[in-house]
Symmetry: C2
Subunit: 323 residues, 2 copies
C-alpha cells in the first residue's frame, strides 16, 4: 500500500505545528562566499536548530500529527544519527515514550545524548541482527508507532518548513540547493520552494561515493547501492524512499555530487569565515555551490546547512590543516 504523496498543504500544516517549538533558524550571508561564487547566497543555518539539525522539524511534526491515543502509546525509531536524537527530543517535548534502536557499538556520546532526552535505547548487534526486524518486533509487541527517518509524509512536510521560513525571509529565490540522503529534506524543501518561489531551480547534493539519488533521478527508478564510504554520515543512505523519490523527480532540477575532500574544505570555510560548526553532511549543499557543481553566478540562491552534530575530537581533526 502506497501512502499519498505529501503536498504543500502538509508543509503549511507542519509550519503551524512547529510554530514556537522549532527554532526559526537565522539566514546568514557571507560577502566572501558571494565574492567566491558571483552569487547572492542565503544560508539557512539548521545547525542552530534544536537538537543540532533540521531533523527535529520532521520528527516533531510526525509525532504531533499522530492521533492522540496512538501517540500516547509511544514511538520507535532506528537510527544512530540525527533522526534518533530528534525523535528523542520531540518525544520528550510531547510527553510521549520513545524507544530508539541503536547498534551496540554506537558512539557512547550519542547513546548518552539520546538517553539524556529521556528515550529508552535498545541495542542490537549490527553484524548478527536485522535492526528493522527487531524494531518492528518491539513496536508490534508494545504498540509503538515507527517513525522512519525520511520516507514518511509528515517527516517530509516537517523538513519542508525550513525552505518556507527561508523564502519568507529572503523573498523569491532563483535557486535552492539542499542536502540529499534519503530525500526527506530535498523533497520537503522542493514542495515548499516550488509553491513560494514559482520557477525556482532546485538542486540536491549527494556525496560522490553515494550517488544513488543522482542515478535514480536520471534513470527514473530507485537505484540501490551498498553503504557508501563517506564522511557525510547523514547521507550514507542506500536508496531514496517511495515517497521522496516521486516528489524529487517531479520538482527537482538536478542532483549533483561532491567529494569528501570538498566537504572538509567547506567545513573549514564555515569555521574560518562564517564561524559555524557544521558537520560533514551539513556541508553538502554549500560544497556544491562553492566548488562550482551548480552554476549560481548572478543568482539569488538558498543554501541549506543541515546540521552541526559532529564529535568535537573528530571535528578538530578535520578542520585542522594538514601538518
Amino acid at each position: 500500500m502506497q501512502a499519498a504523496l505529501p503536498t504543500f498543504a502538509d508543509v503549511a500544516d507542519a509550519a503551524h505545528r512547529l510554530q514556537g517549538v522549532a527554532h526559526r533558524t537565522p539566514v546568514l550571508t557571507s560577502r566572501t562566499a558571494d565574492a567566491m561564487t558571483g552569487a547572492a547566497l542565503f544560508f539557512k543555518a539548521e545547525n542552530l536548530q534544536r537538537g543540532g539539525a533540521f531533523k527535529f522539524r520532521g520528527a516533531y511534526n510526525a509525532i504531533s500529527a499522530l492521533p492522540e491515543a496512538v501517540r500516547a502509546r509511544g514511538v520507535l525509531a532506528f537510527s544512530s544519527g540525527n533522526h534518533a536524537q530528534a525523535i528523542a527530543l520531540a518525544s520528550r517535548l510531547l510527553g510521549v515514550p520513545a524507544v530508539i534502536v541503536m547498534p551496540e557499538d554506537a558512539p557512547a556520546v550519542k547513546v548518552e545524548a539520546t538517553r539524556g532526552y529521556g528515550a529508552e535505547v535498545v541495542s542490537y548487534d549490527r553484524y548478527s541482527q536485522d535492526r528493522e526486524a527487531l524494531g518492528r518486533e518491539i513496536a508490534g509487541a508494545r504498540g509503538l508507532t515507527l517513525i522512519p527517518p525520511y520516507d514518511h509524509p509528515e517527516v517530509i512536510a516537517g523538513q519542508g518548513t525550513l525552505a518556507l521560513e527561508l523564502i519568507d525571509e529572503t523573498g523569491p529565490l532563483d535557486m535552492l540547493v539542499a542536502c540529499l540522503g534519503g530525500g526527506g529534506q530535498l523533497a520537503g524543501c522542493a514542495l515548499a520552494a516550488a509553491e513560494r518561489s514559482p520557477g525556482i531551480q532546485i538542486y540536491g547534493v549527494e556525496p560522490e561515493a553515494g550517488d544513488d539519488g543522482r542515478r535514480s533521478f536520471h534513470s527514473g527508478q530507485i537505484v540501490r547501492i551498498p553503504v557508501p564510504r563517506t564522511i557525510a554520515d547523514g547521507a550514507q543512505t542506500t536508496y531514496l524512499g517511495n515517497l521522496t523519490f516521486p516528489v524529487i523527480r517531479q520538482r527537482v532540477t538536478d542532483i549533483v555530487t561532491v567529494s569528501d575532500a570538498e566537504l572538509v574544505e567547506t567545513m573549514r570555510f564555515f569555521a574560518a569565515r562564517m564561524k559555524l560548526v557544521v558537520e560533514p553532511t551539513g556541508c553538502l549543499a554549500a560544497a556544491a555551490v562553492l566548488h562550482g557543481r551548480v552554476d549560481v553566478r548572478g543568482k539569488r540562491v538558498g543554501v541549506v546547512i543541515s546540521g552541526g552534530n559532529v564529535d568535537i575530537t573528530a571535528y578538530a581533526r578535520l578542520v585542522a590543516p594538514a601538518a
Copy 2:
C-alpha cells in the same frame, strides 16, 4: 583636553549609521545552557558580525561620523587584531584610505586579511620601535585621522548598538554580561542597556591574568598592569580608557574574572552545543555565566559573544579534548 563622555543619544545615532551596513546578528538560545544555569540566556552572536567581531560597529561608526573633508584624507589604526580588520573593512566600504600599523612579526594571515580589505599595512619592529609614536608620525605627515580601538566616543557608541539590538529583540532583561578589554564594548552596551532596560544589572568580564578593569572599578582610579598572559588576546589591554572608565564606573554593577581554562571549556561548549566558533576573548561573558561568576539564577540575561576570529589551527588544538 577631555572629550565629552558618550551618551545614549550617540548610540542611537550609531544605530542609524549602521542600519543596513552592520549585520543585525542573531540572538541565540540554548536549553542546555539554560538548564546548566537556571536562567534564560540570550546570546548576542557578534562572531557572526561582518569582519567576525563586534569591532566593525565602532570602526564604521567612527569613520562615518568624521566630517567629509577629514574622512577623505584617510584613517589610521594600530592593531594586529579585530580592530585593525574592522577599520580596514569599514574604510573600504566608505571609500576611505586606511593605514594599519602592525608589528612586522604579526601572523601572515592577519596581514593578508587586512591587505585583502584594501588597507595599507605599515610594519614596525615591536622591540625597537614605539608604535604609537610611529602611528602619530605617519598620521601627522599624511593628514590621517587616528581611530583608537576603544577610547573614542563614536567607537564606544558603535559598540553599544549591539545591546540596543539585543534588548529590542528580547524585551527588558534583568542582566547583561559583556566582555571587557579596554572597555569599548562594556561602556557602549551599558549606555544602551541602561536606557532600554532601566534597572538592568550590567557585568563586565575580564581574564583573570588581566584584571586591571576590576581593580580600577573597585579602586576608583585607572590601574595599569603589564601585558597579561592570557589566551583572550582581545583583552590583553593594560588599562581602561579615559572615556570608557567613567561610563563603566557610573553604570556597571560589577566586574568579574574567568580563567583561561574556563575560556577553553566555554569554546568547547559553544562548538559542541551551540555549533558556533568563538574566539577565546569572545567567550569571556559566557564563561562567567556558565561558571557561576555572576548569579544568573531565575533571571533573563543577555550574554555577548564578541567575536570568532581565531586561527583555525589554534582553534582545532584548543577545542580538541586533551588526548
